[in-house]
Each structure stands twice: as C-alpha cells, then as structure tokens.
C-alpha cells in the first residue's frame, strides 16, 4: 500500500474502516421462473413445459383430424368429379365455336368469294330448271318453226327475250340472295361461334367452380381437421389464464421480495453513509484544530 493507506490504517479506527470494507448484503433474486402445468379437456390435453407446450388430442379428435387432413389432402390433389367431362365439353364447345368463328370468317375466303360460292350454289339449283325451260322453249320454237328468229327488238324471239330477261332477273336475285345469304351466314356463324365460345367459357367457369368447390371442400376438411385441436386450444386458454394468474402472483411476490431486499440494502447503505459522514466530520474537526495548534509549523514542513 501507499502512504495514504498506511496513514488510514494507522489513524482510522476499525469500525470506521468497516464501514467501507464490510460487504453490503446481496439482494437475492426471487424465483419467478415458469412453472409447468398441464391442461386437460374433452378433446385432449396440453402440457405447458419450460421447454415448450405439448398438445395431445384424444384418440377420437386425433382420428378426426387425421381423417379430415387426409381428406383435405385428397381434395387438394384430386381432380373434381365431372371436371374431365366438363373439360371435354369445353374443348368441344370451344372447338365448335372456333369452327363457327372460322366459318364466319369464311375460312379465309373474302366475302366476295363466299358470295360467289353461294351464288354458284343458288344458280346450280336454278340451272336445271332453266335448262329444262330453255329446252322446252327451244322445242316449242322448233315446233313452231321459229328456231332461227332474230329480231332487232328482242335479239331472238320475244319468248327467248322474256326467258333471258327472267334468267337475268333470277341471276340478279341470286346475286342479291348470295350477298344476303353470305352476310346472314357470317352473322349466323359468328353468333354460333359466340354461342359456343360462351358455352365453352361457361364450362370453363364451371370447371373453375368445380375446382373451387373442391378446394373449398378441401379447405373445409382442413378446417374441420383442426376443430378438435381448436377445441383443445380453446380449453387451453382458460387454463392458461389461470396459469398466468399464478405466474403473475409468483412474479409479483418475487418482485415484492426483491424490493424488500433492496430496501434493506438501501437502509444498510444509508446507515453506513451516515456513519461515514459523521466520522468524517469528526475527523475533519480534529484535523483543523490540530493544524491551528501547530501554527505555522505544522506537522508537516517542507523540506
């Protein structure tokens, strides 16, 4: 030690010294640690341990959970019933719709080409009768000896002119009908295409609905699977509250105990501080008087 220590040891009583050297009593932390507990309910029980909580369903609940989970797994993984049929129908509907739509587009033909096609078909139906009429007229003219008639007014005979006019009118009518028919066909094909496309879309929606239903059923099963567990957890909650009350009480008790200890320690510290102050005053006065007494020569001269 140093000089001061030597002085203190030399001049400081032990009681004072003890004020400073004696250890202050330690505050001991109360045991507020978790206390394991067990909860038991109609569907199972729970063991709350420090290392964790263990839930255990009773066999019935466990069986339900297992069954429903399996069902959910099945639902999530399996194709809904009728899904394939709907798919085929949807494919067919969409295919037919596509066909009609394609037909509405005349398979890539221009409207004029389609009109020509329709015109040709209409004319094909007319040509037979026209030919028969022509042959009949030809025969009639032949029998009348008028095969070779040419006129400035009609070209041939008035009857031939009338027939040519009628045929031209039929051709005109066929042309108009072809235009109308082509347009009507286009509209009809488009409507049918739209109808079947809508049907396909509807079937798609139904497929989705089936899938959704399947998923819903899976989810339902899944949810059902956890009902026993939920029930068990529901039963666990009140027990947990009770456990919490005990825990709170335990922790409050510990806190109170700790506060009491701290208060004790504080009192000891205060007592020692007051003694220290008192010894300090005492020894201060003693020093001042001793100094005066020694005048200017103090006990300690410079040297």
């Amino acid at each position: 030690m140093g000089f001061l220590s030597d002085i203190i040891e030399a001049f400081v009583p032990s009681n004072i010294e003890d004020l400073y050297t004696q250890p202050i009593p330690s505050a001991v932390a109360p045991d507020v640690s978790f206390k394991p507990f067990t909860v038991s309910g109609p569907t199972g029980g729970a063991n709350a341990l420090a290392s964790g909580t263990q839930f255990a369903l009773n066999p019935t609940g466990q069986a339900l959970q297992d069954e429903l989970e399996a069902n959910a797994l099945f639902r999530f993984g399996a194709t809904p019933t009728g899904y394939g049929g709907l798919g085929s129908a949807r494919e067919q509907a969409l295919g037919v719709g596509q066909q009609f739509t394609a037909q509405a587009g005349n398979y890539g033909l221009s409207m004029a080409d389609r009109e020509q096609e329709v015109y040709d078909r209409i004319r094909a139906t007319q040509l037979g009768e026209e030919e028969r009429q022509r042959l009949a007229l030809e025969e009639r003219l032949f029998n009348q000896g008028r095969m070779g008639v040419q006129t400035s007014m009609f070209g041939g005979t008035p009857e031939q002119f009338a027939m040519s006019k009628a045929q031209a009118e039929a051709q005109n009518q066929a042309s108009l009908m072809a235009i109308q028919q082509a347009q009507a066909e286009q509209q009809q094909q488009a409507a049918l295409g739209a109808q079947f496309t809508t049907l396909g879309s509807g079937l798609t929606a139904q497929q989705q609905a089936l899938e959704s239903g399947q998923q819903q059923m899976g989810l339902g099963a899944l949810q059902g699977a956890y009902v026993p567990q939920a029930a068990m957890l529901s039963a666990f909650s009140p027990a947990l509250n009770v456990a919490s009350l005990a825990d709170v009480a335990r922790r409050q008790q510990g806190e109170l105990n700790l506060e009491a200890q701290m208060a004790d320690i504080s009192g000891i510290v205060g007592q020692r501080a007051a003694l220290a102050n008192m010894y300090g005053g005492i020894y201060g006065g003693l020093g001042s008087g001793l100094g005066g007494l020694l005048g200017n020569a103090g006990l300690f001269t410079e040297g």
């Binding site: 029998n143 009348q144 008028r146 095969m147 005979t157």
Partner: protein, 506 residues
C-alpha cells in the same frame, strides 16, 4: 238398107279445156285435144283470146331484148308509173320506154321482183342493191335512200309486201333466212321491229331453199323447192308460228305465185297447184289444178330456162302462165274447177308474150320484144294469130265400129269474115282433111258507135255462123276441129254437130 245418121252434138265444145292426160277416146267430149290461143269466154264457150295491142312506139332503150317484168306503181296520191325491165335496164313509160336506172348502178340481169309498199315501189334482184321508188325522190338505191351501204344479206331475190312490212329472202349466199323490215319502212331491215327467221330447221322434209313468199289470210306462206311452210300470226313476225307444213310440194318460180283471193296459185315441179283452205282452216290441202295437162306442163317446166311469168285477171277469169323461152302460155280458167279438181286450161302457143302485169283498172299489160302492150283487141301487134280447136276422139258410143263422117255443122259466134278451116281426121291420124268456109261479115254495132248503120239489123251485134259442111272418109275414131286466124274479131264456138254413119264392126 240405109243407116240412120248418128249425131254427136258437141255443145260448147272444149269448154272443159284441153286434156292430154286421159285417153282420147275415153274423154268427155267437152274436153279438147287442142285449144290454141283460146279461152273459155264468159258464156262458157271456147273462144279466141284477145291479142297484144302494143303501146310502145319507141323502144330504143329496150334494144333487141324483151320486157322481162312490168310493174304498175301507184301511191295514195294517185301517182302512177309503169315500170318495166329489160336489156339490163329499168324503164318507165308505155309509148316511149325511158331508162330510169339510177346512175352508176350497173345491172346485168333482169330477174326483178317489184312490189308496192307504203307509197313506194321496191325492186329486188338477187345480189343487187335494192331500189326504192317514190314520187318525190324517184328511183334510188337503198344505199342512197338509207345513206349507207346496204348489207349483202338484204340483196334478196324474193320480196313480199305484207302485214305492214317487206319480207325478203334469197341473197347471194343464203336462201333460208327470211328478213322482215321495220314496220311500214321497207328501207329498214335493221333496227326497229325488223328481224329475220332462219327456216332451215323448219322444213318438214329435209333441207330446202326458200323460193317464194306469199301472204294469205294472215298467213305467211314460205315456198321452198319441195316444201311449204305456213306461218300464222305473220302480222307480228317475231311471234309467228308454223300453222301447217306441206312436204313434197314446192314452188319452182317465185313469179308463178298469184293470189286469186280465195286461193294462192303457184307452179310446182309437178304442175300448177293451189293452197285451198278447208272450211275449218286447219290444214291446207293441195289441189292439182293442172291435172289435165300434168305431164306436158311438167315437161315444159323442166324445159324452160327462163323465169316464168304469170298474171291473174279476175276480169278475164284466168291465170296465165308463160314460158317465155318456149313462146308458150297456158291459160287456166279459174272460175271453177272440174270434177277432178283441175282448172280448165288452154294453150297459147307461138306467142311472143314474155311478161304480164295487171293494173288497177283490170287491164293486162304484156311485155314483149316490141315493148309494152295490152291484152286487148284481137291482133298480136297488128298481126293475126291462129285459133285452133280439135276435139278428143269421138267414137259415137262404139269404138269398134266404122264411122263415116257425113257432116259437121259448127255454130260459131263472131269471127267477122274469117276463113274457118274445118278439119277432121280418123283414128288419131295427123293427116287431116279439111273444109273451109267464111263467116259472115257482119260487123257488130254498138249503141252510140254505130247507130243507124247496118248493125241496126244485125243479131244483137253478134255474128253467128251456122255452116253445114260435108265431110269424107271413115274410121273408128274421129277427131274434128277447126282453125282460123283471129284478125281483129273474136270467135267462139257455140257448138258443133257431128253427123256420122255407123258402119260394120271392125
């Protein structure tokens, strides 16, 4: 023992015309073996025809040719022009023939067909630009009249004016297409309501060519060489249709067509025929009008090399058919047909008649080498002509017995101061015996012309001769007849009494 005279009274001898088809001895005695330059007069007697009174005094334009065609043009304004063709010219006029051929229009043939239509006259000849005449513009070609070249198809051989149109057929290359003009416009064969019909396929019997056209009772009659087509509704030719067809009968010459009102006469390769209609008018049976001279007529039809000329004269009740190159005219009396359906027919041989035309007044114009004449009086251009009659074989009911002809007593009307050569022969011999007498010289007098002359005392202005002539010879079949020159006076045979004595049987 004296035998009684047998009498055959030939009343109105030959009033049934000539008959060269039936056996001479089996014929009705009303037929004639020969009836030359004769007609059947208004009383049904065999009579001399009229002559050709030539009107033309200046035929310089005609040259040495004869008038091939005569045509009387008249219009609604009563303008009249007599056209005639010949010497490759078209002429007008009667006394002086004037060349009316359009300038720069060359003609090398004279086979024209001329018709009046809508105040115009139209001239058609195969291959020639048709001509049109009207009073205002004279004679013009279609090219001039239409201000445009005429299509060769319309340079036709045959033309018919009917139903408000001209129908033409027969151009240089085609004889099957009939063209009709626009309505009332004979110049226009294009545009308007004009048209054509090819009858190639309409013939009932194979292929044929159109020879002639005729219109009758709203029918268009198309004559082919061997077929006939009858079209009904020809007033609307675009719609006309076959009404009837006749196969195997055709027409040899378009000039032979004559519409006699109730029928249409035409010359076929087998004789003269008519399209007689039935009451129902549903068919057109053909009648053979020349049956009594059928083979002779066929032979002449084949022999002739020139187009025939014909004329119908309702005033004279006859249809004349002239073979100009044969100098022969057949005169068909059309008053009625005989039991066999034939017309009474007589011959006019050795005549120089070449063409005919009847005008509106009923006068008959005659074309000849001397120009234009009229069927009038009883001389051919001032010259007499021979009238001949010969009966068929007379057997007096028994051809096996010898007949000795004793007397012939003809009753003749007219023939003022004519020498009559009465002839007879036996057993078809051409060696005839004859006896001559002269008819009386009474000149018929007519009121206002011969008043207070000898005619006042003549028998109603008619000279009647009843001479009885003795005859000789014998044979089983007797032919009797007479000849005389017609020289200014008509002659007709009222009757002939033939008296014969029957002998032993051969």
């Amino acid at each position: 023992m004296a035998q009684p005279l047998q009498s055959i009274n030939l009343v109105a001898p030959a009033f049934m015309g000539i008959n060269t088809e039936d056996s001479p001895i089996a014929q009705d005695t009303a037929f004639a073996e020969v009836a030359d330059n004769a007609i059947i007069d208004r009383r049904g007697r065999l009579a001399s025809r009229k002559g050709n009174t030539v009107l033309t005094t200046n035929k310089t334009v005609l040259g040495t040719d004869y008038l091939h065609k005569i045509h009387e043009f008249y219009d609604s304004a009563n303008n009249e022009v007599i056209f005639s063709t010949g010497n490759n010219k078209i002429m007008t006029g009667t006394t002086t023939l004037v060349d009316a051929t359009p300038g720069s229009y060359t003609i090398t043939a004279n086979d024209w067909k001329i018709v009046n239509f809508n105040d115009k006259a139209y001239f058609f000849q195969r291959g020639y630009d048709p001509l049109v005449y009207d009073n205002a513009n004279g004679l013009r070609t279609f090219t001039v009249a239409n201000s445009g070249a005429t299509n060769a198809t319309f340079k036709a051989n045959e033309v018919l004016a009917a139903y408000g149109r001209l129908f033409v057929v027969g151009n240089a290359t085609n004889d099957s297409v009939i063209y009709w003009s626009d309505l009332l416009n004979g110049n226009a064969f294009t545009g308007g309501s004009s048209g054509s019909i090819d009858v190639t396929k309409a013939w009932p019997n194979g292929f044929d060519k159109v020879v002639a056209l005729a219109a009758h009772n709203n029918f268009l009659i198309v004559f082919g060489e061997n077929n006939i087509i009858v079209y009904s509704g020809a007033d609307s030719p675009a719609s006309m249709a076959i009404h009837d067809t006749i196969a195997g009968v055709g027409c040899v010459d378009r000039n032979s067509i004559q519409d006699i009102g109730t029928d249409i006469l035409f010359l076929t390769p087998t004789g003269l025929r008519g399209l007689g209609r039935t009451i129902q008018e549903k068919s057109l049976p053909i009648t053979d009008l020349s049956r009594n001279i059928k083979q002779e007529l066929i032979a002449n039809t084949i022999a002739t090399a020139t187009p025939v000329s014909t004329v119908y004269s309702p005033e004279n009740y006859f249809y004349l058919l002239c073979f100009s190159d044969l100098s022969l005219v057949y005169c068909f009396d059309i008053r009625a047909t005989l039991e066999n359906g034939a017309y009474r027919v007589t011959r006019w041989p050795s005549v120089d008649f070449k063409s005919f035309q009847r005008d509106r007044n009923g006068d008959i114009y005659i074309g000849c080498v001397d120009g234009l004449g009229k069927y009038d009086n009883y001389r051919d251009n001032g010259k007499p002509y021979r009238f001949r009659y010969f009966s068929p074989g007379l057997t007096f009911g028994d051809s096996a017995k010898i007949k000795m002809l004793k007397k012939i007593r003809p009753t003749l009307i007219g023939g003022n101061n004519s020498d009559i050569f009465l002839k007879w022969s036996y057993d078809f011999s051409t060696d005839t015996s004859s006896s001559t007498f002269r008819t009386s010289s009474d000149t018929p007098g007519f009121y206002g012309q011969s008043e207070y002359t000898d005619s006042d005392f003549s028998a109603e202005g008619i000279t009647i001769s009843r001479n009885s002539l003795n005859t000789t010879g014998y044979g089983s079949v007797i032919n009797v007849g007479l000849e005389t020159d017609i020289n200014g006076f008509a002659l007709s045979i009222q009757e002939m009494n033939v008296l014969a004595l029957l002998g032993k049987t051969i």
